[in-house]
């Protein structure tokens, strides 16, 4: 108990902060912050598995999150029959073509000795492949995108419940991680960082511009939900009863019947959105806790000890007969899969998929700030980082506004400096993140909750 005191204290403070938001702002805001904190926590756990356990630096988190989001679309949206009719066959043929291309390259790699001619041959295969792909797919892509472009214009998905996408998203991300890992993991740490960052940009470029698959920047809206809709809830009798019971004290104070009904209606509307958010919180909590148990078990298992050994001294671990390359690839895939789950969860919660919103600042660097601030190598630290940083990210604007008003209290309302500062309030969150990261790295380089190695 004693040694876990700082963990409990840190989480206690976090919880109190969120409850304070609930009391002073509204429970709706508090719960949406809480939900996003949970999603951030999943992402940081993914990054922590890679960075904290194995010392692999992955600046491509954005790409995996986006693939998770794509999975949510491809799983839950109903298939667009018309689009499949006009171009489905052709697209499948193109996918086949890509597979043939990959096998052709593998074949060339296997049969021929390493030489310049082989390299040129592979380049030739890729270029002809791309040209053939473009020629065969062009018309069908146009046809697909022409199908009712205002609402569909893409192939749609499988029409399954969206919750499956959390698993599929993990597999998508794992698939990408396998390719990236095969390509880039041999690189030195900072090269790896740059390479993964750029590869994730390529992934985003594809998701943004392949409209037949993702609707691109036109966004996919109105995704299915795993939880009830507010409007339906408001008509359900049990829910109305629940709200009445919950607020019976408040309602009794109002004597007038019409006023009472109006107040009750207001409460039901508020209550329904809180209830929906609570449902999400429940689902997300299950994921976070399950992942926490698994990662925690893994950390203290022989496998976790091996990963730490590899992280701390690659050569020594290699000399002890551990396959460093294989383990690196494995942990890269596992971590990315977790980020993929988080990406799918995010899209599930928002109910929309907006490829244009995937920016490295928000989906890569912010997550890294969370991991570093929370404490790399410690799962509780990483989750706390996710909570604390996301909380600050959202509440930075009100805090900055408060501070600006405090410091410029002597200035007149129309003072140019004051107006300018108040206009640029949203950007103070970057300042706070940066200062926070710099201060933590300087004075507490292991994070708020540092890694503790205990041999049980």
């Amino acid at each position: 108990m004693r040694k876990n005191l700082n963990v409990i204290a840190a989480y206690g403070i976090m919880l109190v902060l969120i409850i304070l938001v609930g009391i002073f702002q509204s429970w709706n805001v508090a719960l949406s912050i809480f939900n996003m904190c949970l999603i951030s926590a999943v992402m940081t756990m993914g990054a922590n598995v890679q960075w904290g356990y194995a010392g692999l630096i992955n600046f491509g988190l954005m790409g995996y999150a986006a693939l998770g989001g794509l999975a949510a679309v491809l799983i839950s949206v109903d298939p667009v029959q018309e689009a499949w009719a006009v171009g489905g066959f052709n697209i499948i043929m193109c996918l086949g073509l890509i597979v043939i291309m990959i096998f052709a390259i593998r074949f060339v790699l296997k049969i021929f000795e390493k030489s310049k001619i082989r390299t040129y041959g592979i380049v030739a295969i890729i270029i002809t492949g791309i040209i053939i792909l473009r020629i065969t797919s062009e018309q069908s892509i146009e046809a697909i995108e022409a199908v009712n472009p205002a609402t569909t214009g893409f192939l749609g998905g499988l029409g399954l419940p969206i919750i499956f996408s959390w698993i599929v998203g993990a597999f998508f991300a794992a698939g990408l991680a396998f390719i990236v890992g095969k390509v880039a993991l041999g690189l030195r740490a900072d090269y790896l960082a740059i390479a993964t960052l750029l590869i994730s940009e390529i992934v985003i470029a594809i998701i943004k511009h392949e409209d037949w698959l993702t609707r691109g920047v036109k966004n996919v809206i109105g995704l299915k939900r795993p939880v009830p809709y507010e409007v339906e809830l408001q008509t359900k009798e049990w829910f109305v009863n629940l709200v009445t019971e919950f607020n019976s004290g408040k309602l009794e104070l109002i004597s007038n019947i019409t006023d009472k009904q109006a107040a009750l209606n207001q409460l039901i509307i508020e209550g329904s959105s809180v209830f929906v958010k609570l449902c999400y919180s429940g689902l997300f909590l299950i994921v976070v806790i399950a992942l926490l148990i698994v990662t925690q078990k893994a950390l203290y298992s022989p496998w976790g000890r091996m990963m730490r050994a590899i992280r701390d001294n690659e050569e020594a671990a290699n000399a002890m007969g551990k396959n460093v390359v294989k383990q690196h690839l494995l942990i890269f895939i596992l971590g990315s899969a977790i980020v993929g789950i988080a990406g799918a969860m995010l899209v599930t919660q928002d109910g929309l998929f907006t490829p244009g919103s995937y920016r490295p600042m928000r989906y890569t660097f912010l997550i890294w700030v969370m991991v570093i601030v929370g404490g790399s190598g410690n799962n509780f630290g990483a989750i706390l980082g996710g909570f604390a940083v996301w909380f600050l990210w959202i509440e930075a604007a009100p805090i900055a506004l408060f501070l600006i008003n405090l410091f410029t209290i002597g200035l007149h309302e129309t003072n140019a400096l004051k107006v300018h500062l108040i206009e640029s309030v949203p950007y103070f969150r970057y300042l706070m993140m940066g200062m926070g990261l710099l201060l933590i790295m300087r004075y507490r380089p292991k994070g708020i909750l540092p890694e503790k190695i205990e041999i049980k």
């Binding site: 630096i57 390299t119 791309i130 040209i131 062009e138 390509v183 880039a184 690189l187 740490a189 900072d190 090269y191 960082a193 740059i194 390479a195 960052l197 750029l198 590869i199 940009e201 390529i202 470029a205 594809i206 943004k208 511009h209 600042m361 660097f365 890294w368 700030v369 570093i372 500062l421 206009e423 640029s424 950007y427 103070f428 969150r429 970057y430 300042l431 993140m433 940066g434 200062m435 990261l437 710099l438 790295m441 300087r442 380089p445």
Partner: protein
Amino acid sequence: MDFLNAIILLLNYIFVPALTYGSQLALGAIFVTLIYGILRFANFATGDMMAFGTMVTILITWYFQSLGISLGVLPTALIAIPFAIIFMIGYMLFIDKFVFKYYRVNKSPPVQLAMVSIGVMFVTQAVVRIIIGPSDRRFFDGEKFIIKASEFKEMTGLNEGLAIKSSQVLTIFVTLILVSILFWFLNKTKTGKSMRAYSDNEDLALLSGIDPKRVVMITWIIAGILATIGGALYGLDKSFKPFTYFNNMLPIFAAAIVGGIGNPFGAFLGGYVIAFSEIFVTYAYKKFFMYVLPASMEPETLVQLLSTDYKFAVSFSILVIVLLYRPNGIFKGKVL
């Protein structure tokens, strides 16, 4: 005649823009490479430092404009740049003293320094956005074109026009001058040589009496000059938007690595490699083939290898290929 038209077409739409864009990337890439070679970390704040330098340039330009100072046909920003450079050097040295120095003295691993540079990135980005705002700003004044497309058509009687913006010529000119001075400095002067020695082998350089503090300071000064001029030229040619500058960090990294990180001349060429390949691959050659091929063989499609949406993706793919096959960059040679 058709052949000439085709050449002018390529010059107008590929060669001149790529040369300009390449120059802008080259300056940034040399900045990245210098920091990497001497301070030994990947500076993720590159784009935002360039944005900061440009912002100062813009503010000083506005001040000069309000005083009524101008250079006539040339943009006012040119007089503002030297002042901006002084300010920028101050900023760089300030950051170094309060942020990077601690880790350098403690011999932290490069990854940690890269993380710290992310912190600097966040702060710089915030400062830029708080001071000047996130919106698009143009600060180019003076004569816009050296040759207008229509004038060129009249002059030569060709169907295709060649438009050369003065900002393009300015960019290429300034880049060439700056880079020549830099290479002269690195190769001929004693300080430059000591920098190269420090980059090659730190311990040996220390033994032979090179002052590391001086080397680091001069590196930051050069970095400040490159960041300000590179950023300002990009802003003059296109426009200033903090987010674009942050994004430009990616092709700049690509250029630096393609050229062999730590190798300034490689970075210089890498900038052009990235720029040319981006524009080559995403240009629609339909019109070009219409001039070159006989009428019967005219292509129906746009003859575009990849759509322009994938402009960035092209440079990143080149980078990935280079990393795979030649992790030390495509240009062999002495490092720094």
